[in-house]
């Protein structure tokens, strides 16, 4: 439900990065969305289309990398058998308790843009 707020923050972050590099037009943004981030990738894509619409970056696409978390055993390491959305109570190898690692990502990890100078040259 808050994907619109997240998309607005993402769009602002992209424009900040773009401005720091001399401006231009955003072509593609890539984000990492963790399993525990509370963000639904499909809803974020819809929200992104809404926030970039009708502006200079309307053609900008969004790529979402979903990053699952690991359940980690202190002796055996990350549990390979775990699937996203399922939860193991204890380590399948040694029955020890598990801790969670990662999955909280909500990061802008890549930006592709056409620089402002190139845009001028095309006209």
């Amino acid at each position: 439900m808050h994907e619109l707020s997240v998309a607005e923050a993402l769009f602002a972050a992209c424009r900040d990065e773009l401005a720091a590099r001399g401006g231009g037009r955003i072509e593609r943004a890539r984000v990492a969305v963790g399993e525990l981030s509370g963000v639904e990738p499909q809803l974020l894509r819809f929200a992104w289309e809404a926030v970039v619409a009708d502006g200079p970056h309307a053609a900008a696409t969004l790529e979402v990398d979903f990053t699952p978390l690991d359940q980690v055993c202190s002796s055996c390491g990350p549990v390979a058998e775990r699937q996203p959305g399922s939860w193991l109570r204890t380590c399948p190898g040694c029955d020890a308790p598990l801790t969670l690692s990662g999955g909280g990502e909500l990061d802008l990890i890549e930006l592709e843009f056409e620089p402002a100078t190139a845009e001028v040259a095309h006209r």
């Binding site: 590099r21 399993e35 525990l36 939860w87 802008l108 990890i109 930006l111």
Partner: protein
């Protein structure tokens, strides 16, 4: 690079690509860090209360205010999509309360809390509750400068809520199981719920209680006292290590 052919090929040669590692909610995180600094200076214990609608956040706060009146100065900033009803309830219970009507937004963010805090002019608050909008998904993503989150799970909701909404329960330092007087009337396995919480967050504490008959309220109030003592102790250590404390 699957989307290359969606980009005008003439422009393609001019595309710049930059790798980044930037938190999307960095602006909220920065506002939350400023709040946390402010609360450290005043020694205020701050708790973000999160649950689905109807789990009993406002009722727990009313009961807490009634029990701790005269002992601790409590304050509440309460988020609601459309009404002032919760703040009115809390003010009737005798607690300074500031309502944030989010106008449809499904969560509180650090900027909303900052604005509400500026307007909450009252006696110094020792324990400040941030009663989030009833929602078990979105509030998990937003740092409000709190010391810890408390997730509420009511017996009537079912014992599988933690695994269904893992982000909130993984982040909450405390899970309060509310309406425990309904055990026996609703199919709810307290051990199972507790096990799910501990799987998501091995360091979590689980506090079952009922504001209806008061069962468990002593343990809840004792938890608050203990956390406030710990906060004050860390404030004293902070003051001793880096005087002057404020840079104002």
């Amino acid at each position: 690079m699957k989307r290359v052919n969606r980009v005008n090929r003439a422009n393609r040669a001019n595309t710049n690509r930059t790798e980044l590692r930037k938190k999307i909610l960095a602006a909220n995180d920065a506002a939350a860090a400023r709040l946390r600094q402010r609360f450290a200076e005043t020694g205020t214990l701050v708790i973000d209360l999160v649950s689905s609608p109807g789990a009993g956040k406002t009722s727990l706060l009313e009961a807490t205010v009634r029990r701790m009146a005269g002992e601790l100065e409590l304050g509440v900033i309460v988020g609601d999509v459309a009404t002032e009803l919760d703040a009115e309830r809390l003010r009737r219970a005798g607690c300074p309360a500031r309502q944030i009507v989010t106008g449809g937004a499904c969560h509180l963010d650090a900027r909303m809390v900052t604005d509400a805090l500026d307007a909450l002019d009252c006696v110094p608050i020792e324990v400040l509750f941030l009663e989030n909008v009833g929602n078990l998904v979105c509030p998990a993503a937003y740092d409000l400068g709190e010391d810890f989150k408390v997730a509420l799970l009511s017996v009537a909701e079912g014992d599988d809520k933690p695994f269904k909404y893992p982000a909130v329960f993984a982040k909450a330092g405390v899970t309060v199981v509310t309406k425990i007087d309904l055990l026996g009337h609703a199919p709810f396995d307290l051990a199972k719920a507790g096990e799910q919480v501990m799987t998501l967050n091995p360091g979590a504490r689980v506090v079952p209680l009922s504001v209806f008959d008061g069962w468990g309220m002593d343990a809840w109030c004792e938890l608050l006292r203990g956390e406030l003592r710990a906060k004050r102790a860390s404030r004293t250590r902070l003051a001793a290590s880096e005087e002057p404390l404020t840079n104002a």
